[in-house]
Symmetry: C2
Subunit: 151 residues, 2 copies
Amino acid sequence: MEARIEKIKQQLQSQDYKLTPQREATVRVLLENEEDHLSAEDVFMLVKEIAPEIGLATVYRTLELLSELHVVEKLNFGDGVARYDLRTDSSKHHHHHLICVQCGSMEEIMEDWLIPLEERLEQEYGFHVIDHRLDFQGICRRCRESRESDE
Amino acid sequence: MEARIEKIKQQLQSQDYKLTPQREATVRVLLENEEDHLSAEDVFMLVKEIAPEIGLATVYRTLELLSELHVVEKLNFGDGVARYDLRTDSSKHHHHHLICVQCGSMEEIMEDWLIPLEERLEQEYGFHVIDHRLDFQGICRRCRESRESDE
DNA sequence: GTGTGTGCAAAACGTTTGCACTGGA
DNA sequence: TCCAGTGCAAACGTTTTGCACACAC
């Protein structure tokens, strides 16, 4: 935990940004909730517990900054709020999401299934892939087991 | 064109909705700009040229309605606005997007590369896929040919 | 002191809603 | 006379911005 904060501190400093107490509190919240996809509001409420004097704008500014530095990834699941994920150190953070349209749950698949596709894109389309997003909308196992369909 | 409007009219009527002049104007704009991914505001401005008295709320309501009827698909590319695409009659409209982070252009790939993955999801994860979204961010061919990299 | 970073409040943004009105069955 | 559909304006929730202040170097 401390080591990871230290690392992020260095990432900031390498671009002449400081790890202020507010930024550190924000990062800690992200670290403590790595499993979730927190919205800015979520982060704000959690940060308030650690550092009650922080302002919402600061949280937004911090998340934006961390996003630019590729410390977090800004996600958009089409529900009207941006969500923020810490980028895992390892690999290129290419995972996929299963979004249940019934219960709203979200599951992650950590495998990257798209590498062959990306190679095809480079060759057939001349498109150099930096990142991708693959989300599936559907019905999760739990919901399937307790309903008859309507879509 | 007229045939396609007629078809949409029937889709509406089958659910007891009417193809009002405003709705028709909206549909015409969508048909005439099938290649683009128009935002509600885009649609509004284009509809105004045909039917200047229309209100933005009506456009939103129409797009929402068409979306519910699966006449259009509501897309989200994470740029803060919803975009709307006519669903092509054929197939399940499973295509993918190449979004250039340099020039903002967007190209569509009409092939569906994910069918094998969806089968895996059903079997390994018990997740029933209704729809998916696959977007690649990167540098398009045109931009690549006229720059040195920085990302 | 000069700077970056901050809190607050106000603004901006896309979108939705309330409401009175209209126009066709 | 209904009642779905509409235009307008106001409300909404998220995000951004302006500005004066704080605090580190």
